[in-house]
Symmetry: C2
Subunit: 835 residues, 2 copies
């Protein structure tokens, strides 16, 4: 799988991004060599000349991240296959369609159950590991305090556990490099229609889940929510495909040939992603929305219900695991992830006044700012990391160790800096169960256990979920202005924590970003609440600090992720209290708008840093302000083939060009159909070509094939061609004898005759909408006579490519108009109206 | 506006549907005469021959419900307009785009505020009217009881108020017939891309809001939630268009030319619908989802945020109105629509056990059955009503009076049938504020006030919202098996109420369906709960009856409406308690699946009864089981025009055919572009044609226009043509002198050169997806040489049309294959693979 013939430029670049591994492994076993030259947005100007992928030297196959193929190629063999399926179903009640439908729901059910179980056990394991660690450390600390142990024992014990756990997490990333990070960008890309190699393999699942368990247990400022989403996607893909490779071995545990195509796979991955969100946040509706927002290019009622069902089954599984002991009793509300119960202090009234909504909006803006700074810092660190660290696996591992050491030390030093012992809050009569539990969770650190606690240590040393709950739910203790966490402690926690989180995201461990953002945001929000309360000593004007903490958490998360409606719903479901709908929505909106002034969401930043051709839902801004037409953005260097083509020509074309699709044109250049690379390779590999026709005419006319109505039947069926999905043969698998090269392949039965086309005069808005909405892989650009003048792929429609096209057109000036005039004749677009 | 020349068949049919008014009024003033002949689904077989709209006699313009035009026609004049706009913005900071964007948000804000206010005042008015009515009636009843008044005074007073209010409501429908009913089907159709005449007019808004206020106050089993959604849509449309006609007068209160196109209008209506849902149910997220699910054919981040913002502003307005008195204090949680607060009896545990989820699923199935029966009955009643009642406005009014009398009598008789007085529940110590309020709302009817109440009367005579809350929140009163509502009372309420609701939906008053479904469902659910509790006397096994009531409400509503995820979210937001996520989702899913076995959702039934060409999100089932290609469903009778066409030919074409689009083809039949009807009429009306060119050649060659490169500049600008949106001139406005008829119009600058096309061999799945996803209005079907062979419109892709095509193809047999062969040449689809 080593990339032998990629240009050195590509190799260098992919090395930077890929953690030093120069083999990219291909899409599900199909060997592809590297990634396309996509630049970083911010550096657009300087690299423009490197990126025009239309002008590569010949004889160099252009590698590319593949797009998914959501629509079947409508060829004669496909139609024949469909026909035979329909015929076999005629008059039957239990049709193939019904069978497949039942199987589909069954697989969805299994996905939900497996993902729910994975999430539950991952959570349990993290808690156990964490508990072992803390128990030992606390014991050592108490010994230090009473003098039973030498000073420093606690720290070194702490350091030992942290380093051990982090090393295991990093080992997982060593085994499977794509399991690093959050996984949400990867799932977004998958649902966007981009097949990133190895992203939905079972090996990735194992490394991700096991790795994140340990990285969370190690006390790094990471969450396990993002990886859970990734996990759900892999589970869905694996179960639905029924065949997957574990550590290089092929395992076939089910045979569900029905779902082995990109469309079904995408739908299942959408279900899985929803299950992942649901299992991470106990937010089934948020999960459905996440999947639909990212994945389904348009609402399909059927898919919505399937995603819905998958979410429900995940939640049901979680509930069932939780309540195994109390199956017949009342179920527990305790979820894997929850913000706890917000108590109303006045019955029938919400915890805030209407005018405070303006304060929440301000907190939203501040959160947006914090998020923007976070994103910008992390982007710079990631760029630096790509250049200097990701070159070798060893460096990445050492980086993890260094950062783990840093985190450990800071975590240990901050409580010592604080160095104050606060008395545990007195057990007020009207406290709820929840508040009593939270008080028990306060950490004594070096104070007297059961009587005092260290404020900073209580935030750092507890599980992040519990720390968030503490910030949300501890009340201000009445008139005397004493509260569980003082402003100084909050500040002392907030700044180091968010700084560490900035550094940590991107190191070689599986790590999510939700929980760190929420926790630092909650600290920030509570701080704001405290400061406001300082202004007003009557304690009636402002809402309690818990509400401010919630808004702060939402603001910072919103400012970092900039997700849309699904995020709101996830937060609402985690909050579990509808009174916060309006404040949460306002805060998130303010955070998003403020953040967007400065940069994009962190996931988008990472997608762009990885140079993945991600297509936004909306037409790029540049297209709104400039008239660009399809003709100007298309790649004009199209490799066309004839309906009946020589084997040699095809083989040369396939080996020299990496294009995934070739238009088939007749003698006039009129589009007949398109031929996919996989199909061509399959035909060549299975030697589906005829000797006679070509041989007979070899002497005269340079071997021009006969184009008349005389036809031979198709030599391969659609089923034979598709049975190997997704591991289609490559051109390297096609071994040809020299005499084969002069044979002819009749491509007409295999050509996709109903390929989408667009007129060359179409505006870029129209082209983009067609391409994005239908989830296309390629789009033929034709003139009025249906002659192919170019081809548009995903990469041509990215904002950078559009800008480049615009600049090129500006340079070329009015000549392009003449060019179009020449191609399309006098009836083409008016010259005066362009540019 | 009288339809003079429609065929009698059409007129009869549209009379049945349109409440006897044979003038359909046209789309925003454009006169259209009637509706297309679309049959009722269930009667497919018998009317097949009447429906092939391709074969109408010439000289009869075929009227049609117009589709919206979401994509601008990309002609030279359009490009030139875009270019000039872009050029004027070059180098400026405050560009047109930014201005428009700010305006867009401002309009969205205004829409939210107005809709919030409308909902608030509508609600206040209903409550006041209701209170006046009940106060008088109760007083009379008390007088009867004490003997101060003759028996029957209460009834007649009751009858008087009911009849008065109902008459006012019906008067509103007399003024504006489209304001009858729920409005949700109409909004769904609008968002689906169908322009139903008068549906978004200000007059409709007034009649709908005022009418529903009175029909709810009249105590009919109707809700005001559907009409609120419609109201939001109209508000958005009116404010964004800035120009609308009130009772025939044009009022221009703002001038926002930017938004005067179908795309912007659709987006605003989506915002408005969300605001409507939000104002009706206090469910902002449910509103956003409703709009996106129905409206946006694909997710657009920008639109999502705008819809979101609009929802928020509506909610904020509602809150502000509610809390005007306590602006600085804590805001009230009391919403316009709420299920009240569900109390947890055990802290930290939900109100049900895991195994009860199976019981909830069974309740869901039963609810689905009830919904299916409801839908089927209402469908039959509606068909009968269309045939016998809707013929005249008088009959409709009399029907309303009769049904109002029936409802009044039943409402009054049922409590008398019950005839038992129950003692008010004793004020238990731990009751919440809410429960105390609910006890106060119990109705004494003919019992002693303040001590006793009539169980049935308490359900019938209170506002539906309060009745729902009573069913949800009254606890079972401990060991002695006495509860606030006995099983018999619930049954005595449930059956008459749901029967009346079935009859009432469809009469000539504005009426929603959500509240009646919820209320009868709640009664049904509580009944189920009671029966279960009878099985178990220990009172620990089953959840409280309130939870069962909630599930029952969800089940019946889900079984009736079959809405997808937006309904779940709306119910969740109304419930306000996240513990019910899983049970609600399971119940709704069970209800949907059970109901779908028998029939479709009520809104869909009404859409089909009105024969509106509504396109589902998913490809029709029939297309999945049969290979149908675009060629077989298209309308082959295409009226093509030449790039330079005679005025006379155009005028004849426009007067004889009602098509909204005409392909422009060159001498070889190759598609050059398309010309919209509106554009052609505008050109003719403004006499944008030249005399010389045609005149000079009139003698020779039969007036064939010159097709060469010599061109005259466009005679009209795009802005001039579009400024009259949406009241484009009709063919009747084009007054031609006889000498004009031989002039030539150069259509080339106005033609949409980038029209979407599809190959004739494309499968119907592909065609449907392209059409539905992009929200197209028409789609040219071309062969491989880009020659137009047919055109596909919305109507051709409906399930009925597909079945018809399939039957026609079966009849014609293999000849169709030859036909394609003839058209497309030898390289077309293989004969053997079709049918």
């Amino acid at each position: 799988m080593q990339n032998g013939n990629g240009s050195s430029l590509h190799n260098d670049e992919s090395n930077l991004l890929n953690g030093g591994e120069s083999s990219s492994g291909g899409i599900n076993g199909v060997s592809r060599s590297g990634k396309p030259p996509k630049r970083i947005r911010r550096r657009l100007g300087s690299v423009l000349h490197q990126t025009s992928h239309h002008h590569h030297a010949p004889n160099v196959p252009v590698p590319s991240i593949e797009s998914h193929n959501y629509e079947p190629d409508e060829s004669e063999v496909w139609r024949s296959h469909t026909h035979s399926v329909n015929r076999s179903n005629r008059g039957q009640w239990w049709t193939t369609g019904k069978k497949r439908s039942v199987k589909r729901w069954a697989v969805t059910l299994v996905v939900g159950i497996i993902q729910g179980s994975i999430a539950y056990f991952c959570n349990m394991l993290t808690r156990s590991l964490s508990k072992i660690k803390w128990d030992h450390v606390y014991e050592a600390l108490q010994d230090e305090r009473t003098g039973d142990a030498t000073t420093g024992k606690g720290y070194f014990l702490f350091l030992f556990y942290q380093t051990l756990f982090v090393s295991i997490a990093s080992l997982m990333v060593y085994i499977e490099p794509v399991s690093a990070g959050s996984g949400i960008p990867e799932v977004k890309c998958f649902l966007n229609g981009i097949a990133i190699p190895r992203i939905v393999r079972l090996k990735t699942l194992f490394c991700k889940v096991f790795g994140v368990t340990f990285s969370v247990a190690a006390g790094l400022p990471v969450g396990k929510e993002g990886p859970m989403v990734h996990s759900g996607a892999v589970v869905a893909s694996s179960v639905s495909q029924g065949k997957t490779s574990v550590f290089g071995y092929d395992t076939s545990f089910t045979k569900i040939e029905d779902f082995r195509n990109d469309r079904e796979k995408r739908d299942f991955v959408a279900c899985g992603a929803a299950a992942g969100v649901c299992s991470a946040f106990s937010a089934p509706i948020g999960g459905v929305l996440f999947a639909l927002e990212e994945g389904a290019s348009y609402w399909s009622t059927k898919l919505t219900w399937r995603v819905f069902f998958c979410s429900m089954m995940t939640l049901l599984t979680l509930y069932t695991w939780k309540n195994l002991d109390s199956w017949w009793g009342q179920a527990s509300t305790e979820k894997l992830f929850s913000f706890g119960e917000f108590t109303s202090f006045d019955s029938g009234a919400v915890n805030f006044s209407i005018w405070e909504l303006f304060l929440f909006v301000i907190i939203g803006c501040l959160g947006g700012l914090i998020g923007a700074v976070f994103n910008a810092s992390n982007e710079q660190i990631t760029i630096w990391r790509m250049k200097h660290v990701n070159k070798s696996q060893l460096r990445r591992f050492l980086e993890v160790l260094c950062i783990s050491f840093l985190v450990t030390t800071v975590s240990f030093v901050m409580p010592m800096v604080w160095g104050r012992c606060t008395e545990l809050p007195v057990d007020v009569e009207d406290w709820s169960e929840q508040e009593k539990e939270l008080v028990e969770a306060l950490v004594p650190f070096k104070c007297e256990k059961g009587k005092e606690y260290n404020e900073v240590a209580s935030l750092i040393f507890t599980d992040a979920d519990d720390a968030i709950k503490q910030l949300f739910h501890f009340r201000e203790a009445g008139e005397d202005d004493i509260s569980t966490f003082s402003s100084a402690a909050l500040f002392l926690f907030f700044l180091p924590y968010i700084s560490l989180a900035t550094i940590v995201y991107g190191i070689a461990v599986p790590s999510g970003l939700f929980v760190p953002s929420l926790l630092s945001g909650a600290a920030f929000g509570r701080l704001c609440g405290h400061l406001l309360h300082k202004l007003d000593h009557t304690h009636g004007t402002f809402a309690d600090s818990g509400s401010y903490a919630l808004m702060g958490a939402a603001a910072v998360l919103g400012g970092m992720a900039r997700m849309t409606i699904s995020l709101t719903v996830i937060l609402l479901e985690a909050t579990g209290d509808m009174q916060y709908v309006l404040p949460l929505m306002l805060t998130l909106m303010a955070a998003r708008f403020t953040g967007n002034v400065f940069n994009e969401g962190l996931y988008d930043i990472h997608i762009h840093l990885k140079r993945i051709p991600f297509m936004d839902q909306d037409v790029p801004e540049i297209a709104e302000h400039h008239e660009i037409v399809a003709n100007q953005v298309m790649s004009a260097d199209v490799k066309c083939i004839r309906p009946v083509e020589r084997v040699g020509v095809l083989h040369d074309l396939l080996s020299q060009h990496g294009h995934s699709n070739f238009p088939i044109v007749d003698e006039h250049g009129t589009l007949y159909g398109t031929a996919g690379r996989n199909m061509l390779c399959t035909l060549l590999k299975h030697r589906a070509f005829k000797r006679e026709e070509g041989e007979g005419k070899k002497g005269k006319g340079g071997g021009e094939p006969e184009m008349g109505p005389r036809r031979v039947g198709p030599l391969m069926s659609w089923k034979d061609m598709e049975s190997v999905y997704p591991r289609y043969p490559t051109v390297a698998d096609c071994v040809l004898e020299p005499s084969d090269r002069s044979c002819f392949v009749d491509l007409r039965p295999y050509a996709n005759t109903a390929a989408y086309t667009i007129n060359e005069t179409a505006s870029i808005q129209r082209t983009y909408r067609l391409f994005r909405t239908l989830g296309l892989r390629h789009l033929c650009v034709c003139n009025h006579n249906n002659q192919v003048v170019g081809i548009i792929t995903r990469k041509d429609l990215l904002p950078e490519a559009l800008l480049e096209s615009l600049l090129r057109v500006r340079r070329t000036g009015p000549n392009l108009g003449e060019e179009i005039e020449r191609r399309g004749g006098p009836m083409n677009i008016d010259q005066g109206t362009r540019l």
